[in-house]
């Protein structure tokens, strides 16, 4: 992965934003307010038709709000020319929407060209981005979208959105149309990108597990884009606000919580406690993986290795359960469903 300097995120504020298409029907988005910190990765989760996509699309004015205020980096979005505004906001959608008549390089160059970058600067940036999304080599730059697989096309979609290094990214189920294996890979890659980019991201999904995996904070939405709960993944898992949120979490809240905690955060046993089983776990693995290994080792503690593969301790069922914290363990059985 290439390290690149990038513009990090800016704050976004939505104030009482509403969208109604028809005065007699209920509003698609009803009085939505949210404060997003610079560099935050926000997930909007909800069932289809709840207004999550409409909410996101009002931020770059693909959909014009009926009322309310949207402020990005201190500037009132509604006072700006929409075309100029959008050049500073990355946009990735499920259908990707690559331009079929343009090569991959031309697709990625669209926003730099709109911004009037020099040819050399744009060409350098295209090369850099293709490397960033792991599409370097194989002459991808000169190929056309139809010559790429779905996963590759979506990488280009991400590269195109990042082209002019916008501080804000809007993403509408970007990995939803890919097969589960590709999706997982794209999610992890994107998460790694974000670790160095610190963009402010608003990401729409109906997949709660995706939200848990990616988001710094998750907003669970119901009809009319009403925020039912807006919190970190760990807090939502341990303290779902109500039945509606619980139903979204689905089965296995404890297991899902474990996936959010690194082995390094657990209190370890001395190395001598590890059984002689071949199974082990790394400090940077999550506790769900640790649990998996413990089960494979017959329920006995397994060795914990650091990055240099030295044994630094051992971990067993109790340590895993302790690390989960009192909150989750104290969930009543039906709340934890």
């Amino acid at each position: 992965m290439i390290k690149t300097t990038s513009t990090s995120g800016v704050g976004i504020t939505l104030e009482n934003v509403s969208k109604s298409y028809n005065s007699s029907a209920p509003a698609a988005v009803d009085n939505f307010s949210m404060n997003i910190n610079p560099g935050e990765f926000i997930m909007l989760v909800g069932p289809s038709g709840c207004g999550k996509t409409t909410t996101m699309k009002m931020i770059n004015r693909i959909i014009e709000p009926t009322s309310g205020k949207i402020i990005i980096d201190g500037q009132d979005v509604l006072s700006l020319n929409p075309s100029f505004l959008r050049r500073n906001i990355g946009y990735v959608i499920q259908q990707i929407g690559l331009f079929p008549h343009m090569t991959i390089a031309e697709n990625i160059s669209v926003v730099p060209n709109l911004l009037g970058w020099s040819k050399d600067k744009t060409a350098d940036r295209v090369e850099e981005l293709l490397a960033l999304v792991e599409l370097d080599g194989g002459s991808f730059a000169r190929r056309y979208p139809k010559e790429l697989s779905g996963g590759q096309q979506q990488r280009v979609g991400v590269a195109r959105a990042l082209a002019a290094d916008p501080p804000v990214m809007l993403m509408d189920e970007p990995f939803g149309a890919t097969d589960p294996i590709t999706r997982e890979k794209l999610q992890l890659e994107f998460l790694r990108l974000q670790e160095s980019m610190h963009k402010t991201i608003v990401f729409v999904t109906h997949d709660f597990d995706e939200a848990l995996k990616l988001g710094d904070r998750i907003a669970v939405l119901s009809a009319g884009s009403q925020i039912v709960q807006f919190d970190t993944p760990a807090n939502i898992l341990s303290n779902p606000a109500n039945e509606y949120v619980s139903s979204f979490i689905g089965q296995g809240a404890a297991l899902k919580s474990l996936a959010l905690i690194d082995v390094a955060q657990a209190k370890l046993l001395p190395a001598s406690a590890a059984t002689s089983s071949p199974h082990s776990v790394a400090t940077f693995d999550n506790l769900r993986t640790a649990l998996d290994r413990v089960v494979l080792a017959g329920g006995h503690p397994v060795a914990v290795l650091d990055e240099a593969e030295r044994v630094v301790g051992a971990i067993g069922i109790e340590e895993i359960s302790d690390a989960l914290g009192a909150d989750v363990r104290n969930l009543s059985p039906e709340k934890a469903v």
Partner: protein
Amino acid sequence: MSGKGYDLGLIWAFLANKSEEILELTGQHIVVVIISVLIAAVMGVGAGILVWNKPTGRGFVIAVAGVILTIPSMAMLALMIPSLGLGWVPTVVALSLYSLLPIVRNTIVGLREVSPAVLESAAAMGMTPLKVMFAVQIPIAWPVILTGLRVATQLAVGIAAIAAYVAGPGMGTYIFKGLSMLGAKNALNFALTGTICVILIALVLDAFFILITRITTSRGLRD
């Protein structure tokens, strides 16, 4: 060879004798078709761009172009004589009107076929509406628009032959001459030469369109 049958040897003599005039009429025929289709292209593509996303406008434009096409060409040309007189002008006007339907219809179909996701992406990248139309939508619709122009051209080549009725330019002159002197020695020669030339012009222009389509369509859009 003699007798009642048609002597093929005669047509060679006829062609040799009239070669200059045949070339001139063929040239006129091609020029009048190109001018008419170009005018129809400006009007048809322009109208298509204006109405492609407006159901009422779209229906209206296609209906009008469709009605024009149902007017018999002879009648249309005759109707133009009082206001436009004879010759090139009524010919070009009539051919332009007839060419309109395939062009405007294909323009509308082509523009509508562009995926909404592509158009939304283009707008979300920060392209102005004009830029979305000319840098994304038209280039993607281009093969379909070109097909409309191609059909319009074929149509115009055929109808242009009728233009001789209002003393218009082109190969129709020979066809009408042949018909008017039926029974005379060269009647069949005139009619046959005119007809075959019209077919050849159609084939040549069609080949030209295949070439243009090939050159101007992005590799990313070809099957």
